[in-house]
């Protein structure tokens, strides 16, 4: 498996260069100054308080799965538009009982660098603490974490090489006159009905059809295939200091809206305790703006109960270009918020001793049995 991954990884680097997959025909391209990949760089010296280019994140994922072999595996999700591999990390403690899944993705918008930084921080925190910290340890008894550190890999690389404030993917449209789809307007939920643009020049371009982009397809087909097991879908963004619940495409509320707000508010309170940062909680249409095709709304509508968008620091002072000096504080407070959500999710489905509570599945099975007996 590893040689294959290694080959795919190299392919991901070499192929776009070889095919001249530059894409930016209109503007002059800045010199590609990518840091040389040092395969012997140790995980011990990896800095979680710096922003890392994609090559280093690829390498970090391999090293993490090597260091924590019993608990972490790296998995292939799909290929990006510029033919780069998308990987997620699965954190799972082997056991006999069936697990529920927590999904977290970061970096669907390329310029929101603090988000991939948080995904890496989150993985590190779980792995460094699950043995000694009972709060985190109990999660792994019944939960698996699936973390996608960078969803929009092509865009992320583009922010490192060419345009720090790029947002979309790097797909080509209109005979190469426009680039990029807003991947968070591309999901198959009320697609392009509101709060998105059909013009490929715009930053909220919804794509050529629902899930038209390979990145969207990769995430949605995988999440769809696991939807019965996924209880929590977290998608990390910046900036704005918000915890957003469904929906963006309508002011109507999801059936569990009250609960989502309650859990979200508790998370915001936990976040504020850390460094005093204020986060607001509400539905996207209420406190942000209308959007259609957002991954969080799509996840909720395929049945995943706890679906949130996190908009991390700050409030506009630095915006997308959040100083690296703030990575630690931002990640620490966000970690508190996420752990708070996980506490609530865990306590909803399991007792403190890990025994299962009445779950939707259990109720359904009960109904099935009674239905079958009637036939």
């Amino acid at each position: 498996m590893k040689p294959l991954l290694g080959t795919l990884y190299l392919l991901g680097i070499l192929v776009p260069e070889g095919l001249g997959y530059d894409g930016s025909l209109a503007q002059p391209r800045r010199e590609v100054v990518e840091e040389t990949v040092n395969p012997w760089k140790s995980l011990d010296t990896y800095s979680y308080t710096k922003y890392h280019p994609m090559e280093e994140i690829y390498q970090w994922m391999i090293q993490i799965s090597e260091k924590y072999t019993g608990v972490v595996t790296q998995h292939f999700l799909g290929m990006t538009y510029e033919i780069r591999p998308m990987y997620y990390l699965k954190i799972s403690q082997p056991s006999n009982n069936p697990k529920k899944i927590i999904w977290m993705d970061c970096g669907i918008h390329a310029r929101e660098w603090i988000a991939p930084a948080f995904c890496q921080w989150f993985v590190k925190e779980i792995l460094q603490n699950y043995k000694d910290n009972p709060r985190i340890g109990r999660f792994l008894r019944n939960l698996d974490f699936y973390v996608l550190p960078v969803l929009n890999i092509d865009g992320y690389i583009y922010t490192w090489t060419t345009d720090r404030l790029w947002r979309k993917s790097r797909s080509s449209h209109n005979n190469g006159t426009c680039f990029g789809t807003d991947l968070n307007r591309n999901f198959n939920v009320a697609w392009c009905s509101i709060g998105a643009s059909k013009d490929c020049h715009d930053l909220t371009f919804c794509g050529t059809g629902p899930a038209s982009e390979p990145e969207t397809k990769a995430v949605s087909s995988f999440v769809e295939s696991k939807k019965e097991s996924i209880v929590c879908f977290l998608t990390m963004h910046s900036y704005g200091q918000l915890i957003l619940t469904p929906y963006g495409y309508t002011k109507n509320k999801s059936s569990n809206h009250e609960e989502l707000i309650q859990v979200g508010q508790k998370a915001a309170n936990a976040l504020k305790k850390k460094h005093g940062t204020n986060f607001r909680v509400g539905s996207s249409a209420d406190i942000l703006y209308t959007t259609s095709g957002a991954s969080r709304d799509w996840a909720r509508d395929i049945g995943i109960p706890f679906s949130y968008t996190f908009e991390l620091r700050d409030n506009g002072t630095y915006g997308f270009v959040l100083p690296a000096a703030q990575i630690q504080a931002t990640c620490e407070e966000t970690m508190e918020a996420v752990l708070s959500v996980l506490d609530d999710v865990y306590e909803k489905y399991w007792d403190s001793d890990g025994a299962g509570k009445v779950t939707p599945t259990a109720v359904v099975l009960g109904l099935l049995v009674s239905f079958m007996s009637v036939l």
Binding site: W160, S225, S255, K272, G276, G303, A324, V358, L367
Partner: protein, 302 residues
Amino acid sequence: MPPRGQPPPASGPGGPRPAVLLLAPLLLLALQGVAAAPAGAGGTEDSPGLQDAELQRGLLQQAARAALHFFNFRAGSPSALRVLAAVLEGRATVNPKKECQVDLVFTTDHYNREPFCLIPKSLFQDGEERLGKCSARVFFRNQKPRPAVNVTCTRLIEKNKRQQEDYLLYTHMKQLKTPLDVVSIPDSHGHIDPSLRPIWDLAFLGSSYVMWEKTTQFLHYYMAQISSVNQWKTNDDAVDFDYTVLLHEFSTQEIIPCRIHLVWYPGKPLKVKYHCQELQTPEEASGTEEGSAVAPTELNNF
């Protein structure tokens, strides 16, 4: 909890097997029933009151932003820039022409505070002490730029201290070696060299003028990055600063490059000219817009 009637979802990639087809609606009803919040939730119609409250809140925020940009510009002081803390109270009225008048009171905080301040904000017992307070009337002309602003604020920094800080900034600026060897401020990692911090603050001051003019009921801006410093002169005692700034418009998520040319001397009104690269929209025409400061009126203190 009685199950709620909801349409079943689209079938997954594999397609449901025949036996399960019968059970799918039942399954879904059960799932909805257990997962549902207290009665009343799920597909509720909007109460008109709630919608209005959200609309009000949004307009108050917009007005506060416009008022603050205008205030910062008129104060003309790069060491005394303010950011919005919170809207305390306000009322927005929309006339039949869709023009919008907003009266509001809001609090402000220092812009120049270090981001990783060692004193957590929660330790400030008496909130009013470190926050300034402003009252404003803002008039939005139905998505047209240049909202009319009338704003007065309590003093946040003592006048002498402010003049001192401005003059200190000014002397730092005069000491900068030209031509400035900068590509962008901050760099991609959000870092601003301390020696270049005065440039960022002055750029924000100039951008405040631009952001004030461009703010409407629906559009609001943040300064994302200085993408180039075209000219930096400090002869004739004033700072002559020509730069390109990238503004981030929140509702469209667009990045708007603006070329700004300002002339500043501590204590004197700021002179600004600018030209923004607009997206071509039917309502707007691209072109040079000019603005210059008028003689400042006395800022009333409460």
